[in-house]
Structure formats: C-alpha cells, structure tokens
C-alpha cells in the first residue's frame, strides 16, 4: 500500500488535475483519477476511504485527499493533496467573485444570478433526496435467512429503524432549515440520539 514512487509533487498534480475537471462536483473525477488512472487505490479501498471521509467532520473530498496523501507521503503528503485540490479552484472562484462585483448592478445579471441560486439549491435538494431514498431502500431489504419467528422480529426491528430514520430526517430538516436552531445544536442533539438508538435499541439485524 505504501508506494515510494508517489511523492508530494505527484499528489499535488493529480489532485489539482481532478479538481480543475470537477465542474459540479469533484468526487466522480476522484474515482477516475485515483482508481482508474493512477491505480493508487483499488475500487474497494476508494469506497472504504470515502465512507470514512463522510463520517468525519469537514468537506468530504478534502478529507479524502488528506487521507490519500497521508497514506503515501505522511502529513506533508496530506497537505500537498489538499493544496492541489484547492489552489486552482481558489483562483477561479475569486475571478468569478470579482466579476460578480463588477456586474452586480446590471439588472440582467442580477436576475440570472437569482435563477442560478434557485437551481443550485435544487441541486442540494437532489443530494438530500438521493441520500434519503438510498437509506430507505437499504433499510427495506430484509435478510433472506430471516423466516418464521425470527423473521417477525427482524421485520419489527426494520420497521422501527425506518420510523427512527424518518423522524431523525424530519427533525434535522426542521431544526436546521425551518426553526434555525443552528448546526451545532442539531448535531449535538440528534447524533447522540440516533447513535444510541441504532447501537443499542434497534441494531442492524
């Protein structure tokens, strides 16, 4: 897994390449570069690192770049990969920001930005929808071996897991979006509740 040929500069280059291609999201390009082109990771390793990157706080793709960089070249590698990921796009968004400030008083531009912002919030909504549907699908699948009395128990657990999932989803939406109690309150309240329920009361059967 440790490959001496992958140094900080190589990490920087590969991550900046994928970042500059990543219009509308870097993750698909991360897979293409890390698994298919450089073969630094197998598909299974990529999946495992990605799921850890999502569990940890902070931007998922940044966490992934730090983990991959660190695996090959230690902390310096982690920061090289992260720098590669961010440096090019940083200057591009600044250019866009400067253009925005120049054009901010042009009425046509203002209405175009309004449409863009609405579409962008739709994209966030689509991600939420994908997560929710994926979650409900996976909790609907009943283990094939579960039949009879055991199957009834499994079914009951699965039912309550879905109830809790939907309740957590609604609570998170209302808390963050509608009641605006703040991210820290939402996370500090709902994560422990969900964790305790899924670890002790309704464990995955």
């Amino acid at each position: 897994m440790q490959d001496a040929r992958v140094g900080c500069w190589a990490l920087f280059k590969v991550f900046s390449h994928m970042a500059m291609q990543g219009f509308g999201g870097v993750l698909p390009f991360a897979y293409r570069h890390l698994v298919e082109r450089t073969q630094w990771l197998t598909a299974a390793e990529f999946g495992q690192l990605l799921s850890i990157a999502q569990l940890l706080p902070g931007p998922t793709i940044c966490n992934l770049s730090v983990m991959v960089g660190q695996r090959y070249a230690g902390a310096a590698g982690g920061f090289s990969a992260l720098a590669g990921l961010l440096l090019g796009p940083f200057f591009i968004v600044i250019a866009l920001g400067a253009a925005y400030q120049e054009l901010a008083h042009h009425p046509l531009f203002v209405s175009a930005m309004r449409g863009m912002a609405a579409a962008a919030s739709g994209l966030i909504l689509a991600t939420a929808l994908k997560l929710a549907v994926g979650m409900l699908r996976s909790s609907a699948a009943k283990p094939a071996a579960a039949t009879g009395e055991v199957g009834l128990d499994v079914g009951r657990t699965l039912f309550w897991r879905r109830v809790v999932q939907v309740a957590l989803l609604m609570a998170a939406f209302v808390g963050l979006g509608v009641a605006k109690v703040g991210l820290i309150t939402v996370v500090a309240t709902l994560v422990p509740i969900g964790f305790l329920l899924f670890a002790f009361v309704w464990r995955k059967p």
């Binding site: 500059m20 990543g22 219009f23 509308g24 999201g25 870097v26 495992q48 799921s51 850890i52 569990l55 940890l56 706080p57 902070g58 931007p59 998922t60 940044c62 966490n63 730090v66 983990m67 660190q70 982690g78 961010l86 940083f90 968004v93 600044i94 925005y100 046509l108 175009a112 930005m113 309004r114 449409g115 863009m116 912002a117 962008a120 919030s121 739709g122 994209l123 966030i124 689509a126 939420a128 997560l131 929710a132 979650m135 897991r161 999932q165 989803l169 998170a172 939406f173 209302v174 808390g175 979006g177 509608v178 605006k180 991210l183 820290i184 996370v187 964790f195 329920l197 464990r203 995955k204």
Partner: protein
C-alpha cells in the same frame, strides 16, 4: 466594528462549524454562516449570499469554496485566504490525526461505526434539505424560484446530467425573466 475583528470572528465561527459538519459536507454550515454574515452582521445581502453558493457550484473544485467567496466579499484577498484556511485546516488536522490509526487498522466497519453511519444518513439528508431550504428562502426568487429549484432537483435526481447544465439553465431562466 474593526474589519480584522470581523474577519477573526467569522474565521473562528467557521472553524468551529466545519468541525461540526458531519455526514453531509460543507454545505451544512450554510444556514449558520448566513445567519452570522447576513442577519447578524449585514456584511452581505441575502441575494449576495445565495449568489456566492451558486458561483462556487458553477466553478470547478469543491463547493466549500463558497466560503472563500464570502471571505472575498468581506475583505478581499485576506478575507478569502483566512476564511478558506479556517474552514479546512481544523478538520484536515483531525483527519491526519485519525488517519494514522485508520491507515494502520482500517476502520469504519465495526459496530460503533455502523451505528454512527446509520444515524448520520438520515441526519445528513434532513440537514441538506434544511440547507437547501435556507438558500431558497434567501435567494429572493419567490414561488417561481421554488418551482425552478424543484425542477432542477428532479432533473438532477432522475438523470445523470452534469449539474453545470442545470446551473446554466437556471441562469438562463433568470435572465429571461422566468424567475
């Protein structure tokens, strides 16, 4: 208030928030950042705030760069650099610290990680929907904006279209006065 104090406050706020944004990526900090930047301190208007996210979405690279743009709007280059570092350095250091353990022992498969993942999936979906709701309510596009957002969500959900096209179509719809 002094500009540097402003920037320091925002940086501290972001550093704490980015360590809290688990499960759904950096867009989860948006409602808090909006409250801090636009409601409490009036550094950006609601429309400007929503536009910054749309711009970051239209650019290549991670969407976290929307906070870079907010820093840029508040205090130019210094603002952009400070705010970006505040959003990524704390969480990256945490990942480095844990990464040594993860690379050595693997991870994310045990019972506790499983329960955590089970809890985070619905929370991430709900919080993302909450963040989308925040953007929509501040974008100033009214009911037509909501229709456009729902259409974009449906298209992004049902097709493999590059999101950039949907952003462009949104801009077009805005420009010709549909929103």
């Amino acid at each position: 208030m002094n500009d540097d104090v402003k920037l320091g406050g925002l940086a501290w706020h972001l550093a704490v928030l980015s360590l809290t944004a688990i499960g759904g990526g950096v867009v989860l900090v948006a409602p808090d950042v909006h409250h801090y930047v636009s409601v409490q301190n009036h550094w950006l208007t609601d429309e400007q705030f929503a536009a910054m996210y749309a711009l970051a979405q239209a650019a290549p690279g991670p969407n976290l760069l929307f906070v870079t743009l907010i820093g840029w709007m508040i205090k130019s280059w210094l603002g952009a650099v400070v705010v970006t570092l505040a959003a990524i350095v704390p969480s990256s250091c945490l990942v480095l610290a844990l990464g040594t353990v993860i690379n050595r022992h693997g991870g994310g498969e045990g019972r506790w990680a499983g329960a955590l993942r089970d809890a985070l999936a619905p929370l991430a979906a709900g919080m993302l929907a909450g963040a989308a709701w925040t953007f929509l309510s501040v974008a100033g596009a009214g009911w037509r904006g909501i229709v456009l957002a729902l259409a974009a969500a449906a298209a992004a959900y049902a097709t493999k279209l590059n999101p950039l096209w949907l952003i462009a179509l949104g801009a077009l719809a805005g420009a010709i006065g549909l929103v």
